[in-house]
């Protein structure tokens, strides 16, 4: 696995190449974990921030908003740093301690850039968590529904009685998903819609 150049990593993110994502996890995660742990966070916080950072990076790569003026590692670090900074300020009211081992000034990422906000990234992560925990048929119904697969075909593929049941199932699944999301305590902390 790896090492990959920055260009290869970006290409791997856009094309969702598992080996590149695994490489990033292996190579970048210790850096983020050190940052979070140094600033009052836990391993779980680090994993969440890392995932949100990767979502942010993916969205920026996909939307061609990525302007890289430094090493990707520094850029990613600064994304995670800013995400954690926002959460620290909001939730813990703590002062951020810069990591002197990383040349932070090298990172050109500016939080005022038009990047998806920390709260929205958190919500994406929460949506995914609950979507992923839904029964398998619910997930399939959603995926096929949003892929515009006709209800009749969905019913055939999932061995449902008919297309009406697909509609009912889709309705119940979405209701279940919304219920679980709304009951998630973490969601309550990030519903302050921007």
């Amino acid at each position: 696995m790896g090492p990959y150049s920055d260009a290869k990593i970006i290409d791997g993110i856009i094309n969702k190449r598992p080996e590149v994502i695994h490489f990033m996890y292996k190579d970048y995660f210790p850096l983020i974990l050190a940052l979070i742990e140094k600033n009052s966070g836990t391993l779980q916080d680090a994993q969440d921030i890392f995932q949100e950072g990767q979502i942010a990076l993916f969205l920026r790569c996909r939307n061609q908003e990525l302007v890289l003026n430094c090493a990707l590692r520094s850029y990613f670090y600064s994304i995670c740093r800013n995400l954690w900074l926002q959460r620290l300020e909001k939730k813990y009211r703590l002062v951020y301690q810069p990591d002197l081992l990383v040349n932070e000034s090298e990172a050109k990422y500016i939080s005022k850039e038009s990047i998806t906000t920390e709260q929205k990234l958190r919500r994406h992560r929460i949506y995914w968590k609950h979507f992923n925990e839904l029964p398998e048929d619910c997930q399939k119904v959603f995926l096929m529904y949003f892929d515009k697969v006709p209800f009749k075909k969905v019913a055939e593929k999932l061995k449902f009685t008919d297309e009406n049941y697909v509609k009912v199932r889709k309705y119940l699944c979405k209701k279940l998903l919304v219920k679980r999301i709304k009951e998630d305590p973490e969601f309550l902390n990030c519903v302050d819609h921007e």
């Binding site: 994502i21 996890y25 993916f58 994406h124 959603f142």
Partner: protein
Amino acid sequence: MNNHEDIYTWVSRYNEGDLKGEELKKFLQMLASDPEIRSETELDRELTEFLQDRDLLEFLKILDQARSKKRRGLGLNCLLVAAMLIILMALSGLWIYLNPLRTGHPMMNNGLAVTSDSQKSYSQNRDPLFLRKTLGFPAIQFRENIKNPDLLAANFEPLTYLEGMVGVVTRASHFCLLSPGTIATLAPGDTLRFNWKETGGNHVSFEVLNNHGECIISQEDISGASLTLLTYSWQEGLYYWKIINRDNLVSVGKIIIRR
């Protein structure tokens, strides 16, 4: 629209563009006046957008896989480390069992004399301790079973009755120790060569004791003028050597084995 079920259905239909005519008009009025419906609509809209983003869903799935692979990796690493520790402990146990200085080798327990002829087979028995004679080497005798001090610090406590004799040379008119000095500090595994001059035509005897006064090496009737001591099986600690000539103790010194 009287209950929450209906509101949710309308919210969902509104976000999917399925609400038309009077229903839409009515819903928009409620949306403008009811903050709860607004937040419900906002959540549903964002969730619908999220579920429609197939690219993002696929990406998140891969992220999850990477995360769980990392966890599995950590789990495997822990198992590997545990397995290695068990193997290491087993090997240590075996080594301690075979090491005469620490536990008392079966040969030592029996007080078996190892002659120079049997030295080779002794080495082949993987016992690392032996005294190599370079000139005239009649016998090495291992004595009592040696205790294994639990604490390293205890291995450095001086043996009072010998400590006062270190460096003192007595009744040595025919014997002169050329090397080493009376105190030698060695690392485990180092060798220490003894050279002496004996002018009376007498053999000398050589003993090494640990700091508990237990004899760990005994060599009698050495006709030559040197011997080499190999220490690679010795524990860290303090040892004393004695040279006896014509039944007189002629020289005492000490060896410190330290990493």
